[in-house]
Amino acid sequence: MANAATFRYPSFSKRIVALVGGFGSGKTEVSVNLAKYLAHANSEPVTLVDLDLVNPYFRTREAIAEMEALGVRVVAPQGGQYYADLPILLPEIKGLLETHEGMLILDVGGDAQGCRALGSLSGEFPPGQYEMLMILNSRRPQTADVAGSIATMNRIAGSSRLPFTGLVSNTHMIDETDAAILLEGYDLARAVSGESGLPLFFVSAKRAVLNTMDTSVFACAILPLTRSMLKPWERKEETSGS
């Protein structure tokens, strides 16, 4: 069995990575874990932008303290706006797209509606200098097959006015994920890759599940995940945030 040491982790030649997907694709977990990994692996700064304008709960901003402790800068609404269910687009994001140090990761929430925010910024993305990655989860109703995945990607690309440059296979069922589910999602992602011509950048999955399987079956990079977006009953041995 392959172990974590043999993983090829994701690496990027571009300095901007936008992670996009529908509800439940797991883009927030992927964004948070990718930012943590890059901050740890590379000696360069990482900035994570919370562009989830449609989900009221379980957003990147909930992991701010954890991220900042690891040296990741998080850009998200603060103060009274932290809890708002309003589409707040921070003006500094435009500036970050023009100029930033190190890697810039954007966590773009919620399907085509959520990606309208990205559309208003589409002109600011430096041509050829960013990756726009679709996060696929074959256990979500709208991306359960190739046709549904392509249709969802077309809707998102339409409202974000940015073409996709690659795919991420993040098929999961939260705590019910197993190796068979990962493989099912990987097969779908390869089929979507074949149909769309977009490369599969990496597979992301819970580290505990990866440890149970032969990861050499994945021909691409792998990002092991540690869950950050926990439900209240999963938060053991910690006190209330307030």
């Binding site: 509800f23 439940g24 989900n55 009221p56 709960y57 379980f58 809890y83 708002a84 269910d85 509606q113 989860n137 256990r139 979500r140 109703p141 359960a144 999961h172 069922m173 939260i174 019910e176 439900k231 209240p232 009953w233 999963e234 938060r235 053991k236 041995e237 910690e238 006190t239 209330s240 945030g241 307030s242």
Partner: protein, 357 residues
């Protein structure tokens, strides 16, 4: 059917379709707007109808009219929106119409906030509108249970010709969990043979669906009829779940919805410390499992009962009523969108037993 990963709000919408309920009226409000977002594309796929009303007041009245046709109808909303529907809910109960309401509760009073709360217990269980009536109230603690209870809600509404309300804190609507739906969708019910639905009075006497009875004798008759119905509901429809309830328990916790799951984590961790605590989770909040709560709470080793809610204390009043002074009752609650952690529950239990950490 393979399990799917769904947000609670989407799953509640899909469950209604499984139940053959294809008539949905709603107005968006956080944290339940995804029900409408889901059903606005999903209902047309199965021949259903979604009308986005101009307000929740309009939603309530659309439900009254549509339910009178004998078809399955429902709405979903969150706390302030449910408040706006109270007048129509009272009329619907008075006219004995089957309607399913879903309240994905947020913090109040007033506009409050958008984070999870359980502070609409009184409104749901004690009937927030005017008059002598009750809703059947069901409280799921997981997305799967929300699906199962949503389907049950339509069956109960039809069986008793009574409005049913499914209440979940914001977490039920917003969290993602793996769910399974029944293979077969129910066919939309055919009200042709109904003895009350308004199906067109051709070749029969016209029917009138109303909650207005100016003659006091008839109004009293209607209220007695409802009261009889509630007695039957109390006899037949009590639902609850117990977790680690044994004769060793020193404390019995009472909690419903996702709050119960937080208490389960606390109970598991307290067990590791050698402190035996059980959980009683009412699933039907009306009818309330009065007798079972009394029986389980008065087991010989139980010293105290702890009620835990995401409110400043509402269900506790019903627990007090059930226990008739037989056990000391304590309370722990957070509100406004703050959700108690397992650790807070553990600290409360230790404090009640005089145990230092």
């Amino acid at each position: 059917m393979a399990k799917k990963l769904m947000k609670g709000n989407e799953a509640i919408g899909e469950a209604a379709i499984c139940a053959g309920a294809l008539n949905y009226f709603a107005y968006p409000i956080t944290p339940q707007s995804e029900v409408a977002e889901y059903l606005c594309w999903r209902l047309p796929e199965v021949g259903g109808t979604f009308v986005q009303a101009e307000s929740e007041v309009a939603v309530g009245n659309m439900l009254f009219g549509a339910a009178a046709s004998g078809k399955r109808v429902f709405t979903t909303s969150s706390s302030p929106g449910i408040s706006l529907m109270q007048e129509a809910i009272s009329y619907i109960a008075g006219a004995q119409l089957p309607v399913v309401f879903v309240n994905i509760m947020r913090g109040g009073p007033g506009l409050g906030g958008i984070l999870p709360a359980q502070s609409d217990y009184f409104q749901a269980v004690k009937a927030g509108g005017h008059g002598d009536y009750h809703l059947i109230v069901l409280a799921p603690s997981s997305v799967q249970e929300a699906v199962d209870l949503m389907i049950l809600a339509f069956d109960l509404a039809d069986k008793y010709r009574n409005p049913v309300m499914l209440i979940g804190d914001g977490m039920i609507g917003q969290m993602m969990e793996a769910v399974e739906f029944p293979e077969e969708h129910r066919k939309p019910n055919d009200p042709t043979g109904s003895d009350w639905a308004l199906t067109g009075a051709k070749n029969r006497k016209a029917r009138i669906t109303k909650s207005l009875f100016l003659d006091p004798v008839m109004l009293e008759e209607n209220s007695f009829l409802l009261a009889e119905k509630y007695k039957t509901i109390k006899k037949n429809e009590i639902r609850f779940e117990k977790y680690k309830v044994t004769d060793k328990n020193r404390i019995l916790i009472m909690a419903y919805g996702t709050m119960a799951r937080i208490c389960q984590t606390a109970i598991d961790e307290l067990e590791q410390e050698g402190i035996s605590v059980g959980l009683f989770r009412p699933v039907s909040l009306y009818p309330f499992p009065e007798q079972d709560i009394f029986t389980e709470s008065t087991r010989k080793n139980i010293e105290k009962v702890l009620v835990v809610e995401m409110s400043v204390g509402q269900m506790i009043e019903d627990i007090e009523r059930c226990l008739k002074g037989q056990r000391e009752i304590d309370f722990y609650g957070r509100t406004g969108g703050i959700v108690p952690t397992p650790n807070e529950v553990k600290d409360k239990v230790r404090q009640m037993l005089g145990i230092k950490k």
